[in-house]
């Protein structure tokens, strides 16, 4: 474990004040040292931490290239992923680091307006950011140009954090994705080029601006460098950790006290993620590049261990049901397809399968991807496909024998 974002006072002690933040990390570098920030970010190899993993330097560059001094920065702290806590922990405990990142981004891309987009359920995070902005407003020693910054709180929703949905909500109060292109970096908030960047990515940028890309690359074990926040669940001590990229799943299991046996099923990346299982998977480094080669994804850094006696089929069915319920209900394939998948997997999970449920689910998992305005169907189906691979025997046992492999019980009566 390498603490960079979470260095300093322990997370339990609340939000760091501006004075503590300055004392610990010093001021942001002088203006002359900030001019090459976009190149520095490119050189650092920092990848976005909202789930898609797009290179941060390149994203800033593409907004800067068309901004004309009128771009907008949208710091994305919606964190609608049910298994992720890391963004709210970061915003609640290190608000100034996040706002440093927002101000640096605004300067680098040429923005005078910034929006802190914070899920309305993250009350502590919102309060911390509010207080941090007040502290900054009365601070005379600031070296950064002022950015008109407001906090916008979307309703609790899985899709509200999708970048076009975020822009849509800020513009029109509607937190649903829109058809792209134009993408937010072309035409976003107020119709202007908009940098939508996850809050953790912005906090990393604030450290890279201070200490440089070489420093950032000192951490990390494999191809992708640096550290990352991860949210661990299904262990004796769940919660948010900062790890060096390249740390293995097995190490995380050890540190956080996973209760299941070595090589048990793990959900990586959250509800848009992938199930992996087996000893090879547990030796797999949590490195976005490495995971991608293995058909998995780092996503927003969720690592959820499934206990030995927990049914993977049922867990997957619950996720499918959540996703079907979270569809913004705009695109037919998402509305009908996800609901059909959720209902069929629920029938299989609870021992009431219709004859061809498994075959139909498998068919939908082929035909629905790429058929939404956003990636809701694709992400959901990615998880489903990984589940049908990792829990293949279990799905078959539920369908054909109405018995659960994990709980060794007949399914259908108990819940």
């Amino acid at each position: 474990m390498t603490a960079r974002l979470l260095d300093g006072p322990p997370p339990g002690s609340g939000a760091e004040t501006l004075r503590e933040h300055r004392a610990r990390l010093g001021d942001l570098p002088a203006r002359a040292d900030r001019v090459d920030l976009i190149q520095t970010l490119e050189a650092s190899g920092l990848l976005g931490r909202g789930g898609a993993g797009f290179p941060v330097g390149r994203k800033w560059g593409s907004v800067a290239g068309r901004s004309g001094g009128h771009a907008v920065v949208l710091a994305n702290g919606a964190e609608g992923e049910p298994m992720s806590l890391k963004d709210r922990v970061l915003m609640s405990t290190r608000p100034h680091l996040v706002i440093d990142g927002v101000e640096l981004a605004a300067e680098a891309v040429g923005a005078r307006r910034a929006v802190l987009y914070v899920g309305s359920e993250h009350r502590e995070a919102r309060a911390a950011l509010d207080r941090a902005m007040r502290e900054r407003a009365s601070d005379r020693s600031r070296t950064m140009p002022r950015v008109s910054t407001s906090i916008v709180t979307p309703p609790v929703s899985y899709v509200a954090g999708e970048e076009s949905a975020a822009v849509h909500f800020v513009n029109d109060g509607d937190p649903r994705p829109v058809t792209v292109p134009p993408r937010p970096f072309e035409k976003g908030v107020d119709g202007r080029p908009t940098l939508v960047q996850n809050v953790e990515s912005l906090a990393h940028a604030a450290l890279i601006a201070r200490f440089g890309d070489a420093w950032y690359r000192e951490a990390g074990r494999g191809e992708t460098r640096g550290t990352s926040l991860v949210t661990i669940s299904g262990t004796r001590s769940p919660g948010v950790l900062e790890i060096e990229l390249g740390t293995t799943i097995g190490e995380l299991a050890e540190w956080s006290g996973a209760t299941g046996s070595y090589g048990g099923p793990v959900l990586l990346g959250g509800y848009f993620g992938t199930w992996v299982a087996g000893e090879d998977a547990w030796r797999m480094p949590l490195d976005p590049a490495e995971l991608k080669r293995n058909g998995a994804a780092f996503g927003a850094g969720v690592v959820a261990f499934l206990g030995d006696d927990t049914c993977g089929v049922r867990a997957t069915a619950r996720i499918m049901d959540y996703m079907a319920g979270s569809s913004a209900a705009q695109c037919g394939p998402c509305v009908y397809g996800l609901r059909a998948i959720a209902d069929a997997t629920a029938r299989v999970a609870t021992g009431r399968p219709r004859g061809d449920d498994l075959v139909r689910v498998s068919g939908w998992s082929q035909t629905l991807s790429g058929r939404g305005a956003c990636r809701m169907p694709d992400g959901t189906i990615g998880l489903l496909r990984s589940a049908m691979k990792v829990f293949a025997d279990d799905f078959a046992s539920h369908q054909h024998h109405r018995r659960c492999v994990a709980t060794r019980a007949a399914v259908g009566s108990a819940s």
Binding site: V178, Q330, C331, G332, P333, Y336, G337, R371, G372, A373
Partner: protein, 124 residues
């Protein structure tokens, strides 16, 4: 149809506005070669370039969509053919015409206005 005969591909692919689409299904009726409907009536569109011999059918499907959800979009050649950039997948020599002109292959009616007759290579 001779399976080995090369299909000339246009510079366009079909794009659909999934939010606008309301499952009228007219596109699948007019362009069954490229558009299928799922069990709820929403289109499943074949990936890739629209073959030149289907462009007119594609345009008719687009024009008849009651909610105007379908369109032809230029394929970004730089992404697909970073080395050659020729525009032909079956005949990789530099292209000499545009879509408005008469492609050399496959043969098609001389005049685009006199196109309502059966197309020479209509599949399906």
């Amino acid at each position: 149809m001779n399976a080995r005969r090369p299909v000339l591909e246009s510079d366009f692919h079909l794009e659909i506005d999934r939010i606008a689409c309301d499952a009228y299904g007219t596109c699948a009726e007019l362009l069954p070669e490229m558009i299928d409907l799922d069990e709820w009536g929403y289109p499943i569109i074949a990936a890739g370039h629209v073959p030149v011999h289907l462009l007119d059918h594609a345009r008719r499907a687009i024009d008849s969509c009651p909610v105007l959800a379908l369109r032809l979009a230029a394929v970004d050649r730089a992404k697909i053919f970073p080395t050659t950039g020729t525009g032909w997948s079956a005949r990789p020599e530099p292209r000499t015409d545009r879509l408005e002109g008469t492609p050399p292959w496959p043969p098609r009616p001389a005049s685009r206005t006199a196109k309502r007759g059966p197309l020479p290579r209509k599949g399906g």
